[in-house]
């Protein structure tokens, strides 16, 4: 009986599909359009609520003192100076380490590598590393840099760890940029007797530069925002003094925000919001620079 009914329903629904009902079918298109607009609005609305909330709770705390004071056990005396300096150190050092390695990898893979197993091995590894959770990199950094190489919980150990986190981003972006340079440029240079490296250095890299720089700024943004790997290697949550050199212990802005957010007092949540404004502001600035740089350099070539 039940089976019979379901067969009947099947026939009915098939019947419906074959019946030409343009209005109903167009209505479905229309409903989907409304739903998808709603999805976009909800997604972007969440972002707007997030930013609005952070601005409302954080702005009253944002002043020059907040930027130039060290952390404190009292919210009204706490500032982000040490963490901000730590973040800038971390960003600069990470890029200094990761940029040459990433670009060199990209040049090798695009300009030299054949289609053999070594190339495949490298490519599989890059793809997988891009998807490895950042906290795992933290465990690698803790073992390799902090323990085995004896760097301690220093800025250098943090930056090396972070360089490994962002390396796949730089490699992928640089490869795309290098690949986009027309083949005829290379052929012209080689035909005039330039060596492979001369061709790359004088004719490929200059044209790939805007893309490479954009990729690096993306990587720098990631390095600024990442928290987990640095907590794992043992970056401190409370540091009252500025680091003296790259072997000193350190903290960064996201860790400070994490620490303040974890405290029960309302005031700490508000200064965490103020810290977030500075963090997001830095990211915005960085990305604006990327856009401008790209526009300017692209005009030149």
């Amino acid at each position: 009986m039940a089976a019979e009914q379901s067969v009947k329903r099947d026939i009915l629904s098939q019947d419906l599909e074959f019946r030409p009902s343009p209005q109903a079918r167009r209505l479905r298109s229309f409903i989907f359009l409304i739903l998808s607009n709603l999805a976009v609005i909800i997604a972007l609305g969440t972002l707007i609520i997030l930013i609005a909330d952070v601005l409302i709770s954080g702005t009253p705390w944002l002043n020059l003192d907040f930027l130039t004071r060290a952390d404190s056990r009292f919210p009204n005396r706490a500032g982000i100076q040490v963490a901000l300096v730590g973040t800038l150190y971390m960003m600069a050092l990470t890029i200094v380490i990761a940029l040459p390695l990433g670009v060199m990898s990209a040049i090798y893979l695009e300009e030299y590598a054949g289609k053999d197993w070594t190339t495949q091995l490298i490519e599989v590894n890059i793809n997988n590393l891009a998807a490895v959770p950042s906290v795992i990199y933290g465990l690698l950094g803790l073992q390799l840099f902090v323990r085995w190489l004896g760097m301690g919980r220093s800025i250098l150990a943090g930056a090396l760890t972070m360089a490994l986190v962002v390396l796949p981003i730089i490699i992928v972006a640089s490869r795309e940029a290098i690949r986009a340079v027309p083949q005829s440029f290379r052929e012209a240079s080689l035909a005039l007797g330039a060596t492979r490296w001369q061709t790359i250095w004088n004719h490929v890299l200059p044209y790939a530069l805007p893309g490479i720089l954009t990729g690096n700024i993306l990587a720098a943004s990631r390095a600024i925002g990442e928290t987990a790997p640095l907590i794992t290697i043992g970056a401190l949550t409370f540091v009252p003094f500025l680091p003296r050199d790259i072997l000193d212990r350190f903290t960064v802005l996201p860790i400070l925000i994490f620490n303040w957010t974890s405290k029960p007092q309302r005031e700490f949540h508000d200064i965490a919001a103020a810290g977030i404004i500075v963090l997001l502001g830095t990211l915005l600035l960085l990305n604006a620079v990327a856009v401008l740089l790209r526009a300017k350099l692209q005009k030149r070539y």
Binding site: S105, I136, Y137
Partner: protein, 304 residues
């Protein structure tokens, strides 16, 4: 020396330099291979010595996780279920939103609208995770409390929802790439038979791009499983075996954070636990990443 000799010498020097550069670049490219090897080695050493002290069967059969207490229990399941619970909630948000946005951008939106919307949605992926954690704890949880009064201040629901929003751009942009790669001939054929835009999108293009979409979903799941700061801030620090989204739980990643924040002595058993948990996490995400690459490859074989 004749000029020929000099030019030959120069030629040799040039070839030598070129080869040196090639070797140098090859070495740099291999950093990625060394990094993977380093991860495996770094995780394996302490994982092996952890399992020398705590047998594997205790890790897989006990139902409590209390390695920092006097009465030590090493059952990983509370951490695993918490990780899967938060990830599941995240996927409940990310898959429908990501897919609908992807279909919309690929099949409905004008090129101009698409060029505006895509970077705007990508911003969601650029927000640091610690900021999302703050948002989940300070904004979303109090908001949820209005509807679910018994919800705890730390819970997997709020963490999962916010994590889902964070992952929307990943699902959307990878799925959109897959949808856009479907040849126009398929669309034109369907339009020619009188199909509406919605029918073309859902019955022709989406099925054709299915393995690409599957790759996006699996990669997004892998991201959710490995996500750390949102759950460490908003989901709590209580390892308990539960599927209740309103109570505090502890994921694998938040356990690693919790131990890292304390001053755990190097070489102690609790220090080794983070590597055992880290290995479990790495294996789990590794399997998902490989699965995702498989899907991508299958997709490419069909259309590229």
């Amino acid at each position: 020396m004749s000029t020929l000799d000099i030019s030959l010498q120069r030629q040799r020097a040039r070839t030598f330099g070129e080869n040196l550069i090639r070797i140098f670049l090859f070495a740099a490219a291999n950093i990625s291979v060394f990094t993977t090897a380093g991860i495996v080695l770094a995780l394996a050493t302490d994982t092996v010595s952890f399992f020398a002290e705590v047998p594997l069967w205790r890790y897989l059969t006990e139902t409590q996780w209390t390695p920092l207490f006097a009465n030590q229990k090493f059952g990983v399941w509370p951490l695993v279920t918490a990780t899967l619970l938060t990830s599941f909630i995240a996927m409940l948000v990310a898959i429908p939103f990501g897919l609908v946005i992807a279909i919309y951008l690929s099949e409905f939106a004008s090129p101009r609208l698409r060029a505006t919307l895509k970077p705007l949605i990508e911003i969601l992926a650029g927000v640091p995770t610690v900021v999302y954690g703050f948002f989940a704890l300070i904004v979303v949880t109090p908001f949820l409390k209005q509807f679910i009064p018994q919800i705890s201040s730390f819970n997997s629901l709020s963490a999962g929802l916010v994590m889902g929003v964070m992952i929307i751009p990943l699902v959307a942009s990878l799925s959109e790439d897959a949808l856009s790669a479907v040849p126009d001939a398929l669309r034109e054929g369907a339009f020619g038979l009188g199909a509406t835009r919605f029918e073309v999108a859902t019955r022709v293009v989406t099925p054709a791009a299915l393995s690409g979409i599957a790759a996006a979903v699996v990669l997004a799941l892998s991201r959710a499983v490995g996500e750390t700061m949102i759950v460490a801030i908003a989901a709590g620090q209580n390892p308990q075996l539960t599927l209740d989204p309103t109570v505090p739980v502890m994921t694998m990643t938040s356990y690693i954070v919790q131990v890292s924040l304390g001053d755990t002595p190097y070489g102690s058993l609790s220090y080794k636990t983070i590597f055992a948990v880290g290995s479990t996490l790495f294996l789990l995400t590794f399997v998902m990443n490989i699965l995702s690459f498989r899907f991508v490859r299958r997709f490419r074989e069909v259309y590229e």
